[in-house]
């Protein structure tokens, strides 16, 4: 299959998404260097260029983060060739240090910054509006409302950039970037430029005296841009001689035009939006009584209409807000409010369960989170379900003492008040106070799962441990007068299976650890049943957030989970910082050898470049050591027991440490042996309720594994307390 991007068929129509359209525009404009860090919905721009880079004599790279990619593009531009850097909106925050001053230095070769905003946050953590970054940085911005525009704008942006000697932002939104449409292409330009850096230009050295001068130069270039913008072909005026005009930018404008009768209004579609085309807008408004503004996110166009002698109908008047993206239905209702359209149909809403995204079958992240969740295993009671029936007490005494005698039970059903019942057993505390307080060394704690072990030959029934236990989990045996405590029955507790209210579950201790998260597939670990990830701010933030909590005095053991690519992107400074400032944080690098969330791009560890060449393989454990972390361990998350042991040792460790959790993304490798549920399954539901693999479903009697979904990782085999899951071959 030949890449469509490279098709040499001028004037033909091709199906491109907005990202591919940007890539095609850049190819036609003879771009020489392209760099990016993957980020939805911008990823396919560099992917498309890299796919044909060698054929076109282009250098394309996945940089380790957005500011690096921008600096690479800037270097190329300084050398006189055309370059493009692409990123998602929040990536521009990372690159902003370079971008802000780049406006001062200006460019030589045309430099296009393609930025994809994500209204409605389909795959992002905020919905910032890049049009305001253009104002903030003084960088001209073209706002694409369709793939055709994304293509045209990118192609022309290089020329505009060279004319103004400024970088130019081409802004897309998710519905443009990931929407596909018919795009009419043109021919490839051939500029034949040699790269050469003019070393004498003091404009590159931004010491104050040069920067002051360049700031003035920038303002001059902007004034030139402000003149060009009024005649730009991307600002399309369609005067139908009507009293009511509609102005807007981005795809929202086309949603509106699509559902209204075009002949009923005059239209002004803005594409070149910064600097703002004041003259053109004034001319458009001069014949109108009313001017309706249609734009997603912030009221950028609307704010620029102040002072016009026309009634402005903006976000407030239309009842449209700055949050989320426009739907045609929402727009229809807005126009209906003004009497310009019939209201949207309101179909009967069916009450159907949602299907949120989750970790895939076989995902090593799930295996790790499960191990983390069960580091210290104990039996947890859901007080909302517990009826106080005491069946668990009878079951326990029968299991352990072969009698039905609640006074010999290791679990206690408590009636705390009329409405509140709860069963309590040992919580397997870290640094268990019962063990510390025992004067006769009769108590110890299992290194494997945190269970308290009683040496009955040493226990004299003094009862200090009973005093020390906050949970009331230790009791004296009524006959032997030795202390007794729940030992989780070797992982197969009968009380859980026999509880008539299903109030008892097998759980780990989430209340003595904080788990700061980061950005990637593993953020989905915030979802039940693992519910492990407690924060997600920005790339690389988790490590430092965890450190901040520790320095503030949080007593819980602090973990920071971060993916391999996120670690390379923004985690390394945070890691060096905790090594230097001695924060008691365990950094867990969930290393699946790829940028999974954005579609499996290579990383510095994968040994391949964006163009498919071999590369040096950089090991994360080696980086951690060289950044000053002494305690660095590597573990395979598919081995739950080993992972748990390592985590237990870490729980007791004071100081910065790193665990590299290594297992390739299952979507990238061949499936293992599919697992099957055996007849010995008793339907306890641990594999579904605690582990939560989407390939496993649960009926009343037993679990079932869907063979078309099972990835064959085999972790469920280790999770099942009854040895009821085997691979098909084993059967």
């Amino acid at each position: 299959m030949v890449s469509k991007i490279a098709a040499n068929k001028p004037n033909s129509y091709l199906l491109f998404n907005g990202d591919e359209a940007v890539a095609r525009g850049a190819l036609e404009a003879n771009v020489k260097v392209a760099a990016a860090y993957p980020g939805t919905p911008s990823t396919e721009i560099l992917e498309a260029i890299a796919g044909v880079a060698k054929q076109f004599g282009i250098y394309a790279e996945w940089s380790i983060n957005e500011i690096v990619s921008m600096e690479v593009a800037v270097g190329a531009s300084m050398a006189g060739v055309r370059s493009i850097v692409s990123m998602k909106h929040v990536g521009l925050n990372v690159a902003s240090d370079a971008a802000m001053t780049l406006a001062y230095t200006g460019v030589v070769g045309g430099l296009v910054i393609a930025v994809c905003d994500d209204p409605a946050m389909h795959s992002s953590q905020n919905e910032q509006d890049t049009r305001y970054f253009a104002v903030h940085s003084n960088i001209p911005l073209l706002d694409a409302g369709s793939p055709q525009e994304a293509y045209e704008m990118t192609r022309d942006a290089f020329e505009l950039s060279e004319k103004l000697q400024l970088p130019v932002i081409v802004r897309l939104t998710t519905r443009v970037a990931h929407g596909k449409a018919r795009v009419q292409i043109r021919e490839f330009q051939d500029l034949r430029r040699d790269a050469k850096f003019d070393k004498d230009g003091p404009k590159w050295v931004m010491v104050p005296q040069n920067a002051l001068r360049q700031h003035r130069v920038l303002k001059g270039r902007l004034a030139e841009a402000a003149r060009l913008v009024n005649a730009s072909k991307f600002n399309v005026l369609e005067d139908n001689g009507k009293d009511v005009g509609i102005i807007g930018s981005g795809i929202g404008f086309y949603h509106a035009k699509s559902l209204l009768n075009p002949q009923q209004f005059s239209w002004l579609k803005l594409g070149f939006v910064y600097p703002f085309p004041r003259e053109l807008v004034r001319k458009f408004a001069s014949n109108l009584k009313k001017l309706i503004v249609v734009e997603e996110l912030r009221p950028y166009v609307e704010d620029n209409l102040r002072g016009l002698d026309v009634e402005i109908l903006g976000k407030n008047q239309l009842g449209l807000d700055e949050i989320g993206e426009f739907s045609p239905d929402g727009l229809r209702d807005a126009f209906a409010k003004l009497g310009f359209a019939d209201p949207a149909q309101k179909p009967v809403c069916l009450d159907l369960p949602q299907r949120p995204p989750g970790l895939c079958p076989g995902c090593p992240h799930r295996a790790f989170y499960y191990a983390l969740d069960t580091v210290n295993q104990f039996i947890k009671c859901d007080a909302d379900k517990c009826s106080g029936c005491e069946i668990c007490e009878y079951v326990c005494s029968a299991e352990k003492e072969h009698v039905f005698n609640p006074s010999k039970s290791r679990i206690r059903a408590l009636r705390l008040n009329v409405l509140f019942n709860m069963a309590v057993t040992c919580r397997a505390c870290i640094d268990a106070p019962c063990v510390k307080v025992c004067a006769r060394d009769a108590l110890s704690q299992s290194k494997e799962n945190g269970v308290i072990i009683v040496d009955e030959s040493k226990c004299d029934g003094c009862g200090w441990c009973i005093e020390a236990c906050e949970y009331g989990a230790m009791t004296l045996h009524p006959v032997t007068r030795k202390v007794m405590v729940c030992d989780i029955c070797g992982g197969e507790p009968a009380c859980i299976t026999e509880c008539p209210e299903s109030a008892l579950t097998f759980a780990g201790r989430s209340d003595d650890k904080v788990v700061a998260g980061d950005i990637g597939c593993y953020t989905l670990g915030c979802l039940p049943p693992v519910s492990a990830v407690q924060t997600c701010l920005c790339m690389g933030a988790g490590i430092s957030q965890a450190a901040g909590m520790v320095h503030a005095g949080v007593k819980d053991k602090a973990f920071a989970v971060i993916g391999d690519s996120t670690f390379f992107h923004g985690g390394m400074p945070g890691l060096l910082n905790i090594a230097y400032n001695k924060a008691n944080v365990c950094v867990v690098v969930l290393d699946n050898r790829t940028v999974a969330m954005t579609g499996h791009q290579p990383t510095p560890e994968s040994g391949k470049t964006a163009m498919g060449d071999d590369a040096k393989t950089v090991k994360i454990a080696a980086i951690a050591k060289s950044l000053g972390i002494d305690k660095v361990n590597v573990v395979d998350p598919y081995d739950i027991e080993q992972t748990r042991q390592l985590l237990r040792a870490t729980m007791d460790f004071k100081g910065p440490s790193v665990i590299v959790v290594e297992r390739p993304c299952p979507l990238k490798i061949e499936k293992g042996a599919v697992r099957q549920v055996q007849d010995s399954c008793n339907g306890c539901g641990v594999c579904v309720k605690a582990f939560g693999c989407p390939a496993i479903s649960l009926t009343v009697e037993r679990a079932e594994i869907d063979p078309t979904l099972c990835a064959g990782c085999g972790v469920c085999e280790q999770v099942c307390p009854f040895d009821a899951i085997r691979s098909i071959e084993q059967k």
Binding site: H122, A181, R182, A344, P357, P529, G692, P694
Partner: protein
């Protein structure tokens, strides 16, 4: 002429690829086409749907509620969810496979069955073509072609403005050489499934 379709299913089922092929076929027949879809997070087992609009000139890729001519459902729950998009006189093509969402596994949402969902779909649309994609794919010995079977079914709908040959050409241009023959067979099987009803 305009034709608005919703392709819906679960991330990984091929909703994106199939709707791509549909768009390519529309392009071959000289139509304008626009499509909206979401990548990224939706890949991870979540709901996914693509809006496809075909016509002489298409401005916006998004379809209004209650305006879609056809829903192509890869899975019954997602198809039922998409019914709000369908015209009163619209058509549904549904693969009769139910994949319970993870919420249902943990017991936080009410249990549903394939039959209950199909009943909802039958009630919500004027014309419904049920396609047992897995069984048909089984005949060809490859479960991966369920989506191509559905495409065949779509292509055979009455009033479909796109030519059969355009679909076949679009399939051939999109797939790897070794899969083309199998998928063309699957396409034919899907066509017959609708034509023979």
């Amino acid at each position: 002429m305009t034709l608005d379709l919703i392709f819906t299913g679960i991330g990984g089922q091929g909703v994106v690829v199939l709707s791509d092929i549909f768009c390519e076929a529309a392009l071959l027949d000289g139509f304008d086409v626009a499509k909206a879809e979401i990548h990224g997070m939706a890949q991870r087992g979540g709901s996914i749907s693509a809006h496809v609009r075909v016509g002489e000139k298409v401005l916006s890729p998004l379809i209004e509620q209650g305006k879609a001519d056809v829903i192509v459902g890869f899975e019954v729950l997602e198809t039922a969810r998409a019914l709000t998009m369908l015209k009163p006189q619209g058509t549904v093509i549904v693969n009769t496979k139910y994949i319970p969402p993870s919420g249902q596994l943990v017991g936080s949402t009410k249990p549903l069955t394939t039959e209950a969902l199909l009943a909802i779909i039958q009630e919500g649309a004027l014309k419904v073509h049920q396609v047992d994609g897995l069984a048909l794919a089984g005949k060809l010995g490859n479960f991966m072609v369920v989506n191509t079977i559905l495409l065949g079914a779509v292509s055979a709908l009455p009033n479909m403005p796109l030519k059969e040959a355009s679909f076949q050409e679009a399939i051939a241009s999109r797939l790897k050489e070794k899969y083309i023959k199998l998928n063309l067979k699957a396409f034919q099987l899907g066509r017959e499934n609708v034509l023979l009803v």
